[in-house]
């Protein structure tokens, strides 16, 4: 998905000279061509997330479209106040694009895991929060939002799904509506596991790439069903719960640090987010 990010930005930058890359010493190699082609629009500022965000706000205040890019936990958790005040409160919009979603860096341990970003950023007034699950989603959503004046968070993953579906900012997708009494709702790359687990079960299936604004209309269609949110992060469940009088439960993150290593697949298995475990959880609800 990071390659898609590069390709999309390269394409946009050709027509839009207001795009400025602000990197936190990550993905620098990916953007070599950008740097070569647009040296005055590329800044690897160093490992200083707070300043990256403040600088982006300053660039935005002068009519430019900054793309801050670094590792997810460091810029969303460490620099939350900069995102809140410098970008959102000041109305200096821009783009924050991260890598290292959820357990993409599983082997690096809990310091590099990121599962709170969607939940905390969706609390900021005016913020847009996007979790693309596929390369296509990333491309379409970035093109539609990067210059809209808002502060937009794009949470990229190195483990995208490749399930094709219509993509429109702020719109969820009903993948299956079979009139069942249970609806499974999910977001982002974990959709691959969820779809595999549920494809032959008698459940409805809804998918989201935009966490904020959440598609309330779509959720309301399933208000008479029991909703199970399956997600390898916080944020989607809380967004769905804002709609009153739903029957919603959550399967995903435990209230403890994942203090073990391995691959993303190891951790998903440990948390019950592999295909077999998800299937078991859903079947118990049917």
């Amino acid at each position: 998905m990071r390659k898609q990010f590069r390709d999309t930005v390269m394409d946009l930058a050709e027509r839009d000279n207001k795009i400025i890359m602000v990197l936190g010493d990550i993905s620098v190699y990916f953007f070599n061509e950008f740097k070569k082609k647009y040296p005055d629009r590329f800044y690897n500022m160093g490992i200083c997330e707070n300043t990256l965000v403040s600088v982006a706000a300053g660039l935005s205040s002068q009519g430019l479209y900054p793309f801050v890019h670094t590792i997810a936990p460091f810029v969303t958790e460490r620099s939350l106040e900069q995102i809140k005040l410098d970008m959102c409160y000041n109305n200096f919009g821009g783009n924050i694009v991260t890598c290292g979603a959820s357990f993409d860096y599983a082997w690096d341990g809990a310091t590099h895991h990121c599962y709170t970003d969607l939940a905390i950023l969706r609390l900021l007034p005016g913020m847009e929060v996007i979790q693309p699950g596929s390369r296509k989603e990333m491309d379409i959503l970035m093109r539609s939002c990067y210059n809209n004046g808002k502060t937009t968070y794009f949470r990229l993953s190195d483990y995208p799904h490749d399930i094709d579906m219509p993509v429109e900012f702020g719109k969820g997708v009903v993948f299956k509506d079979c009139g069942a009494s249970v609806t499974v709702m999910t977001a982002g790359p974990i959709f691959g596991n969820v779809l595999a687990a549920c494809k032959d079960l008698n459940v409805n299936l809804a998918y989201f790439h935009t966490i904020k604004p959440i598609d309330k209309e779509l959720i309301s269609k399933f208000r008479e069903t029991r909703i199970l949110v399956v997600h390898d992060a916080f944020g989607l469940y809380e967004a769905i719960c804002e709609i009153p009088n739903l029957s919603v439960s959550y399967h995903g993150m435990p209230d403890e640090f994942c203090d073990f290593y391995g691959t993303v697949h190891d951790i998903r298995r440990k948390l019950g987010l592999d295909e077999v475990s998800i299937r078991d959880v859903v079947k118990k609800l049917i």
Binding site: D40, M45, G46, N50, S61, G63, L64, L85, D86, N90
Partner: protein, 260 residues
């Protein structure tokens, strides 16, 4: 003290008395600095969004009352607007909101934010090949925040010679984390550093007019509460207080006496 700066201090005292709000000692230490900035920069009070204007950011946002009084003096709005300082539905909060007050470029309050934004604005001017300059006023207490030094490192690294950091050295952090030898510290980061009397308008204007080939830091040596003996000697007690009627009369008398 110049008559204008004395009158600005009187305005600050009066608005603080009327509203019941104010960081008066902090506001008094920067009167000459902010006044000198607006005397020096390219700006149009009747056209606050003029696209060739220089930019001033008050990073130590709790001195907003001084900023308002200087903006009013410069002609951005009528000073009577400030009498609603801090009140419900007022545009003039104890920390300024850029969307509500003409001339305020950035909403500040939480310390350590304005300087990073100023780096972005100065970089934007470079990218846009503009001659506009950016001035940011930080406090020495604010420099306790690590992000201040992060911003300085970035500004030096990307060679922002169009950014001037004014450091209000009012030694307010004597009881906490005092930054010792700030000149030495800024120089070690690669800045061009000047030391001035922060209550001397002409000295400030002269330093603000000088261009530098790298990030410039003006260390403005000030007294917290300068102008009133009561504040200078008791600035911790007065940090957030506003004067009652009797105290106001006494403080105005101290100002006129120019005892400090």
């Amino acid at each position: 003290m110049t008559p204008i700066c004395k009158n600005l201090r009187k305005d600050i005292l009066n608005f603080s008395h009327i509203s019941g709000h104010g960081h008066i000692p902090s506001s008094f230490s920067v009167v000459e600095i902010i006044y000198a900035v607006y005397e020096s920069i390219q700006h149009r009070p009747k056209e606050p969004k003029w696209d060739k204007r220089d930019i001033f950011i008050l990073s130590k946002g709790h001195a907003a009352l001084t900023h308002y009084c200087v903006l009013a003096e410069a002609g951005y709005f009528d000073a009577s607007c400030i009498s609603s300082f801090g009140a419900f539905l007022s545009n003039f909060g104890c920390h300024a909101c850029r969307c509500k007050v003409p001339g305020v470029e950035v909403s500040t309050g939480s310390l350590g934010h304005g300087i990073g934004i100023s780096v972005g604005i100065a970089l934007a001017a470079k990218i846009q090949k503009s001659d506009r300059r950016v001035f940011v006023l930080i406090g020495d207490g604010e420099a306790n925040e690590g992000v201040v030094w992060e911003s300085i490192m970035v500004a030096i690294n990307i060679k922002l010679d169009n950014l001037v950091v004014i450091y209000d050295n009012n030694t307010s952090q004597l009881r906490g984390l005092q930054i010792l030898n700030p000149e030495e510290k800024f120089m070690s980061f690669g800045c061009s550093v000047a030391n001035v009397n922060g209550h001397d308008v002409d000295a400030l204007k002269s330093e603000l007019a000088k261009k530098s080939d790298k990030l410039k830091v003006i260390i403005a040596n000030t007294k917290k509460g300068y102008g009133c003996k009561t504040f200078v000697e008791n600035h911790h007690e007065w940090h957030r207080r506003s004067p009652n009627k009797a105290e106001l009369a006494h403080l105005l008398g101290e100002l006129d006496a120019e005892a400090i």
